[in-house]
């Protein structure tokens, strides 16, 4: 009887130690894979640089479009000046050294993707779209509504601001959850969302949409103020 108990204790001790060994190995390996996923570096392609150059060009064109000062003889001089000021502030908030650093980066890490998303959220979404451009459309009694062409493009402005202001929130949530073991960035897994590369592409798309919107608005302003 004693021998059986001793044998059982022996088996039990090796079983428990074996289970602990297995669990520890599993956790160690999952950490190795997670480390590789989280620390993946995306090397920019030529197409990415082309997109960045086009965005920089557009910002230069926007800047030149909004330099035109409306004529004092224009009955809506104050309104156009107001629009010009707001577009100027937008361009100042967006066309910064920080944006240049983002565009000049050759290698993108998860940390860089987060910084890009935060720049979009703070400078483009909050400072430009919500603080400046949204005020053009929220006041129904504003004298801007007397300008026929502005009344025509007002729904366009409203729709664009509404779609652009929260567009990076989903990406922010995905990026913030990268401490989860299920986060994946392995380039080989083409059918699964590649955390670093796809987040970066989505954000550049949002940058493109936002700058295109401001570009169209500046073109309209330029056409009005002749």
């Amino acid at each position: 009887m004693k021998n059986i108990v001793i044998e059982y204790f022996n088996i039990l001790s090796y079983t428990i130690t074996g289970l602990v060994f297995g669990l520890a190995s599993f956790i160690l390996l999952i950490n190795v894979f997670h480390y590789n996923s989280v620390n993946e570096i995306y090397v920019k392609q030529d197409s990415d640089y082309e997109i960045n150059d086009k965005l920089k060009e557009k910002l230069t064109v926007i800047n030149s479009n909004i330099q035109k000062i409306p004529s004092r003889a224009n009955p809506n001089f104050i309104d156009y000046s107001n629009i010009q000021t707001k577009l100027n502030i937008c361009v100042q908030k967006i066309n910064t050294k920080e944006l240049n650093n983002i565009f000049n980066k050759d290698k993108i890490t998860m940390s860089d993707v987060y910084d890009i998303q935060q720049f979009y959220k703070i400078n483009i979404s909050n400072e430009c779209l919500i603080k400046e451009l949204n005020t053009l459309i929220t006041d129904d009694n504003s004298s801007l509504n007397n300008i026929a062409s502005f009344k025509t493009i007002k729904p366009f402005i409203e729709d664009n601001i509404n779609s652009l202001k929260d567009s990076s929130d989903y990406i922010e949530k995905v990026i913030k959850s990268n401490s989860d073991y299920s986060f994946s960035s392995n380039v080989v897994k083409v059918s699964i969302f590649n955390g670093v590369q796809d987040s970066y592409y989505e954000l550049i798309k949002e940058y493109n949409n936002a700058i295109n919107f401001i570009y169209d608005l500046s073109k309209w302003y330029n056409s009005e103020v002749i």
């Binding site: 001790s13 074996g18 289970l19 669990l23 520890a24 956790i27 480390y35 940390s111 987060y114 913030k176």
Partner: protein
């Protein structure tokens, strides 16, 4: 050869145990300090470390060869403490885990907290394994002494 491997694993067992305890202690002290919490609320995390420390002392003082010369047990201990250290190291230094940046005190506490339950499981598993091996050893001693008695007779 076996003795050399066992000696190396046994030494690493104690070194990695201290390293694992140090990194866990550092993480909890730093985060409790930053969030103005009392360290006493986190004392539960260190109970398995205390239990293991007592068991290791017993192994050394009692010269329990069944535990100290058990390559498999020593290897498992080294693996568990090494895993603890790796997870602690990543919670502090892996800046590409965005919560590390956001949380404000440079430690990804959410990532480490998710691991704490596994850490407890592994440490208590080692404690139970240690006790079971000690029990086996004592019983084996009795078998050997019984066999000697039979031979004498």
């Amino acid at each position: 050869m076996k003795k050399i491997i066992n000696f190396i694993l046994l030494s690493f067992r104690y070194i990695l145990f201290l390293g694992s305890f140090a990194i866990t202690f550092f993480i909890f002290v730093t985060t409790n300090k930053q969030s103005n919490n009392n360290i006493n609320s986190s004392i539960v995390i260190f109970i398995p470390y205390m239990v293991l420390l007592i068991l290791f002392f017993i192994n050394i003082i009692g010269r329990q060869k069944k535990v100290n010369s058990n390559i498999f047990y020593n290897l498992t201990c080294c693996l568990v403490f090494f895993t603890n250290m790796i997870v602690g190291y990543r919670a502090i230094y892996d800046k590409n885990m965005i919560l590390n940046k956001i949380m404000g005190y440079d430690i990804n506490m959410i990532y480490f907290n998710n691991y704490v339950i596994f850490m407890k499981l592994l440490m208590y598993g080692l404690c139970i394994g240690n006790i079971c091996f000690m029990a086996t050893k004592r019983e084996q001693k009795e078998i050997i002494s019984n066999k000697k008695e039979i031979e004498v007779l």
